[in-house]
Amino acid sequence: MGIAAEALKDFKGFNPKKLPEVEPLSPGHRACQGCGEILALRQVLKALGENVIVASATGCMEIVTSPFPQTAWRVPWIHVAFENAAAVISGVESAYKAMNRKGKIQQPDVVFLAYGGDGGTADIGLQALSGALERGHNFIYVCLDNEAYMNTGIQRSSSTPYGAMTTTSPPGKKSIGQRTWKKNVAYIAAAHGIPYVATASPAFALDLMNKVKKAAAVPGPAYLHIYSPCPTGWRHETDLAIEVARLAVQTKVFPLYEVIDGKWILSRKIAKPKPVSEYFKVQRRFRHLTEKDIEEIQRRVDEEYEELLRRCAMSGEPQKPEGKETEEG
């Protein structure tokens, strides 16, 4: 049995009727109306409770929660720079490890969380993240992926999906919009051979919170890639963040899975997937795409999903059945 499986063998998920009441991230922050990212971050923090230290990358979640002299944080939180949240939490974790060992403190059970957006994770912070994962620090890294640099005004990142309009991948006579396919950071994290990797979505809150709880329970690094709809940048209605997040899963655009000790496990099989066009039509960032463009994207989405299924099948782990549409969210 691998170290993650060992740590999770008696794992008990949250009871949906008795979710923790604690709100380490308080309301009253300054996120945009309908922000899907802050919902996801709130769910992460609720799952972790109060014995946690948080390191934040520069980005939307940093700026909307910490305008001095106000703070939305009821747990210790540090922001240093854009690209180094994983390195900062490495230092915090190492300090606690050394000081506990040397008897300077008696706080062995603190959980260490670093988070960043997709820019802070897939682009500028990838090196620091890779270093921290490889060194094996006992921490959780959460990428809150809203698929572009939203804080600076919707510029493309390597996590922006093919075809999407951003302010630096504008569609035009000679441009389809984003001309590269989304970088798969969860796969990159898994390639480090760390004990736990998962994707999650705020539309499936219980699944998300259980994955966070697992990430905290496994020793060593854990990586969570969380889909985070951004009404401002994706140009969708402000009451649709959860609906958009759900559609991303139902269309196989953002499949939910775990990698436990290197074994791939689908969190919910999508037996009757919806076409990607249903996901695209509620977001104006895709409205310039032609039917032909959408067909090409559909092919790619299908191929990537098949590839994921192959990884799961090769792992030989029991896979979960299709989740009920109404289960959560």
Binding site: I78, S94, A128
Partner: protein, 391 residues
């Protein structure tokens, strides 16, 4: 009791850091700093030092890891040089702004391009405004003493700023010298345990590194400036305590044969020992030449410096780095500003010497003294010259 050893300066630096009960060391290899962190990793590997040695993937992450560790309340150390220092510079500004008492040894090295691993002060000057306290060593004993002093100053509740000890790459870092190494008991007597005022602790949650809007940013920077100025008396006081315990004296500005000198050299770092030899020789020949060495680079001891320089007719400032287009090296710019601020105007000659590891010899100092004396007596315009450059 400490012991007198013959030891490479980098190894001695690691030994004294190892005696300081450091909790977290984050390090990335770059020449000529490597021997310091190599030896620290050996101390940890052998169980002589109980610390987390974090072998980070870049200097940027080295400083980021130190920031996280220091914010969590740990005593931290790192070391770097040149390009690595440039890479971590972004986080150096944040370390000082967050008032974290990190200690770093910088084995000073030239900046690229062309890539050059040898000694000058380009890296020290690049980071002069990062908000760190910076001292400068001239020999191995001083590296050891200044590192011990660095922790005491950095962690003083009246200071809470990070401290750099600058040592010249190769010409100092790789020399084997006779050094008095203190023992653990002596270190503990001089350096009290680190008791952080604020730390990342779930029992008492704090927000570190929030957004500073225009209505608070200026005040934050003014507070930081006051902290840096307020550090000067504490630095001097800690040197006083050091002298009482160990018998070796340090001052922000140190002098050598300045009595009756008409021409004063101003130097920083290991080149000062060559300058002393040159001054001895010229004094023996009846020339009225003396030497002033800047021990403390930040906070800049302007008044202390002017008090010494104002006694001379001419000052020859030896810079080990360029400040392109200013016709003054970075050190000389500050010296001239300090003199002007205090209404003192000796004849100031600026020499750029020893770039990228080029030797500066006793003869070079003699030539600089001669040029300065000549310019002074003939009333020539104050000059700026790159020494020994091939045109």
């Amino acid at each position: 009791m400490g012991k007198r050893v013959g030891m490479e300066v980098s190894i001695a630096a690691a030994e004294v850091v190892g005696l300081c009960d450091v909790d977290v060391i984050a390090a990335y290899p770059i020449t000529p700093q490597t021997h310091i962190v190599e030896h620290l990793s050996e101390l940890v590997a052998e169980g002589h030092l109980d610390a987390e040695f974090v072998p980070v993937e870049s200097e940027h992450s080295a400083m980021s890891t130190c920031v996280g560790a220091a914010a969590a309340g740990a005593r931290t150390f790192t070391s770097t040089s040149s390009q690595g220092y440039a890479l971590m510079a972004e986080i150096c500004y944040i370390a000082s702004s967050l008032r974290l008492p990190i200690v770093m040894a910088v084995a000073n090295r030239a900046l690229s391009a062309p890539i050059n691993i040898w000694n000058d002060h380009a890296d020290m000057m690049m980071s002069r405004d990062t908000g760190w306290i910076q001292t400068v060593a001239e020999n191995g004993q001083e590296v050891v003493d200044l590192l011990l002093h660095a922790y005491r100053v950095a962690e003083d509740p009246r200071v809470l700023l990070p401290v750099i000890v600058n040592l010249d790459g190769f010409t100092l870092s790789h020399m084997i010298e006779p050094i008095w190494l203190p023992d653990k008991e002596e270190v503990d007597r001089y350096l009290p345990p680190y008791k952080p005022k604020l730390r990342l602790d779930p029992r008492n949650p704090m927000t570190f590194g929030p957004v500073g809007m225009p209505e608070v940013y200026t005040e934050a920077k003014k507070a930081q400036d006051e902290a840096m100025n307020g550090a000067l008396p504490v630095i001097i006081e800690a040197w006083g305590e050091f002298e009482k315990q160990f018998g070796r004296a340090y001052r922000p500005v140190e002098t050598y044969k300045t009595d009756g000198a008409e021409i004063l050299f101003l130097t920083m770092g290991s080149i000062s020992e060559t300058a002393m030899t040159a001054v001895d020789k010229m004094r023996a020949e009846g020339k009225k030449v003396g030497l002033v060495r800047l021990r403390l680079w930040r906070p800049f001891p302007a008044k202390e410096l002017v008090d010494v320089l104002k006694r001379a007719k001419a000052v020859a400032v030896v810079d080990r780095a360029m400040a392109f287009s200013t016709r003054s090296g970075p050190l000389c710019v500050e010296v001239k500003a300090a003199l002007y601020d205090h209404g003192v105007s000796p004849y100031v000659q600026n020499f750029i010497a020893g770039l990228g590891g080029r030797d500066v010899t006793v003869e070079d100092f003699e030539a600089m003294a001669a040029k300065t004396g000549d310019g002074l007596s003939k009333g020539l315009p104050m000059a700026y010259e790159i020494v020994n450059v091939r045109e």
